[in-house]
Amino acid sequence: MKHLLSIADLSPKEIEEILDRANHHRDVNRHSNKKQAVLAGRTLINLFVENSTRTITSFELAGKRLGADVITMQADSSSLRKGETLIDTAMTLNAMHPDFIVVRHQASGAVKLLADKVNCSVINAGDGCHEHPTQALLDAVTIRNAKGKLKGLEIAICGDILHSRVARSNIILLTKMGAKVRVIAPPTLMPNKEFLTSQGVKVFTDMEAGVKNVDIIMMLRLQKERMRGSYLPSPREYYKYYGLNAEKLALAKDDAKVMHPGPINRGVEIASDIADDIHRSIILEQVEMGVAVRQAILENLG
């Protein structure tokens, strides 16, 4: 495998291997000396045209902990702001002989466009509303660690499905691994139903029905930056019908866990006490596994 652009590029076996290695890296990361030499001498460029906190940090740490030289370029400081096209930026970076370019871009398909023009490995760190494969992998390993398996689990993804690359990557990965996926969204934030059912996903617009007896509830943020026009009346109405609170969580299985890719909007899609409940929330485990999974991916591509 040269690039990681979509979860569709990975077989179930490759996914299992990445998840297993991620746990190894997690164990190493818990030691005071976190340095490994797997990627010594390699160069990794983070090209984040769309901004990010946790993804960019975790890729930087992942590269450094494996011994690579890491350079991070954010949109504000890059020539893209000076009018350079994405392809010209890609060719320029390529001429510097990096081994990996990690790309985030606000346009769906932009990472693939760039990948076609460079010689090194390209990792999709999120392209528009399309895919976010490393997020899906870190979610998968977090779920597997919490539940001991993926196969057969009932997993509800709830929120702004329409604009979510996290949802699209997770749907592909989780169904591929034998989990049963439901999506829950207000009708204005629901993608085409035929597309969803073709992916083997059950569709709910009523959250109370959607979370009934699930093992995992994955909450998503409202992607306001991708919304043009009025999809919803107000944050308070959204919270009333689609926010995760104790009453709705009680409808899930007793040992159901709550996830969120972050950044969370407390009181909009999730109640603070649930986000902070260490018995139900595995949001910080997701962050921990974010670094470890990205190490496993770099190792795999390298």
Binding site: P186, P187, T188, K193, T205, S230, L232, P233, R236
Partner: protein
């Protein structure tokens, strides 16, 4: 002629009343028998060949006893424009017209776009109204056509439908999202179908009369393009969600009605209503700058008047609603182009509608259906039926009485009607709301 109107406030009837010797008529079931009907408190407990020794007796003298009429488009003007009308005066006007339930429109001040205003209207109705008040809220905040109102919370608060009223929702993306979002709450999206840009400040129908008077006209296409567009959006929403509800307020043109007829045949979930003035009058009523005949949508030409009339008779039109739009004299005593749009209608709905029955063009059951259970179904309220256990909202009608409309006798605060001295046949003579006699003549 002595008129009784109940004291303000929604109160339940007390004790038992036996409405004797009535022609009891229920449009939904088709029940049509001379008999007695017993009310206990606010409910109908029994009817038919029954007697009750301990009840107050009201002799109906063989007159027609129907479910209370329902008018699903009324501008009550409260809060904000109480000079023109308020919940007390509009309810007296309704009761005098035999109307026991009204749906009030959201073009109030402030706009009815939030739960607090809805609760205000509900409280005022309990205190001041003598008929049932159902509430429309706006689709978008402040009827600006931009951001959706809190449709879910408003529906939970008791709102029966959503419309941006005289500021039709122009942005098709917002309309699509409104129709889509509303599916989750089974909320009704209603539209005053008009492309305001095409109307371009027109004040009466575009045609011979507007040309003669030299005033800007509103073409039929103004209504038809909006209905056609919304039906395209409804199809999109129904295909995607399997649900969707769309209601055309006061349809006035042949073209729009034809579009609705086709959409119904296709299976789209669309309903429509028409106002008595649109199937009774044409643009000729504007005559020599008569502002009392200025209404939006405007009185159309004879072809459209006939089409609306026929649409009532053939069933394409689901409900008769008045678009009761009271205006003080100052708003009407102006040049035609500057005068306010609107006609008061609550006290003339029944007699104007009965003309279709007296003409022999529609049977009584089908006609009354459009003023009872069919409008109730559109706004999703359990009313408009005579059955055991139902709320005793009833109208006693003298079908044959010939009389002339006298706006000066209206109980509405406003008298803006083009029907002065218009000859009609039939009228409400008693109105019961929740078992309580609220109007009698």
């Amino acid at each position: 002629m002595s008129v009784f109107l109940a004291e303000p406030g929604l109160k339940k009837g007390k004790g038992k009343k036996l409405l004797k010797n009535a022609r009891i008529f229920d449009p939904e079931s088709g029940y049509d028998q001379i008999g007695n009907l017993l009310i206990d408190g606010d409910k109908i407990t029994d009817f038919g060949k029954i007697e009750a020794s301990d009840a107050e007796i009201i002799d109906c003298e063989g007159k027609l006893l129907t479910p209370g009429l329902i008018d699903i488009q009324v501008h009550a003007r409260e809060p904000g424009f109480e000079k023109k009308e308020n919940l007390e005066s509009v309810s007296r006007s309704a009761a005098a017209g035999g109307v026991t339930g009204i749906a009030v429109m959201p073009n109030t001040q402030p706009v009815t776009d939030n739960v607090a205003t809805v609760e205000f209207i509900q409280r005022r109705a309990i205190k001041k109204s003598i008929v049932n008040v159902h509430i429309y809220a706006s689709i978008t905040k402040n009827m600006e056509g931009k951001e959706l109102s809190e449709i879910g919370m408003l529906k939970e608060a008791g709102v029966v439908g959503f419309t941006d009223d005289g500021l039709p929702l122009a942005n098709p993306f917002v309309m699509r999202n409104a129709l889509t979002y509303a599916t989750e709450f089974d909320a009704l999206i209603a539209q005053h179908a008009e492309d305001l840009q095409l109307s371009n400040g027109g004040c009466i129908n575009e045609g011979i009369v507007s040309s003669r008077l030299g005033v800007p006209g509103i073409p039929n296409a103004s209504e038809a393009v909006m209905v056609e567009r919304d039906l395209q959006l409804l199809r999109l929403v129904q295909n995607q969600t399997g649900k969707g509800r769309y209601h055309v307020l006061h349809v006035s043109t042949k073209e729009a009605l034809d579009a609705i007829r086709r959409a119904k045949a296709e299976g789209l979930n669309v309903t429509c209503e028409a106002a008595p003035h649109h199937f009774t009058l044409t643009e000729e009523a504007v005559g020599d700058y008569k502002t009392f005949a200025k209404v939006n949508p405007p009185l159309r030409d004879e072809e459209s008047r006939k089409a609306i009339y026929d649409g009532i008779c053939d069933g394409t039109i689901d409900a008769i609603a008045t678009d009761h739009a009271p205006h003080d004299e100052e708003s009407k005593r102006l040049p035609l182009a500057d005068a306010a749009f609107g006609i008061v209608g609550l006290e003339t709905m029944l007699p104007l509608a009965l003309a279709l029955y007296h003409n022999g063009d529609i049977d009584l059951r089908a006609l009354l259906a459009k003023m009872t259970y069919q409008p109730a179904n559109i706004i999703g309220v359990a009313a408009g039926r005579i059955k055991k256990g139902a709320k005793a909202d009833l109208t006693l009608i003298d079908l044959d009485k010939k009389w002339k409309i006298k706006p000066e006798n209206f109980h509405s605060k406003s008298k803006n009607s083009p029907f002065e001295d218009f000859p009609v046949q039939g009228r409400a003579i008693k109105t019961f709301v929740g078992g309580r006699l609220v109007y009698s003549v």
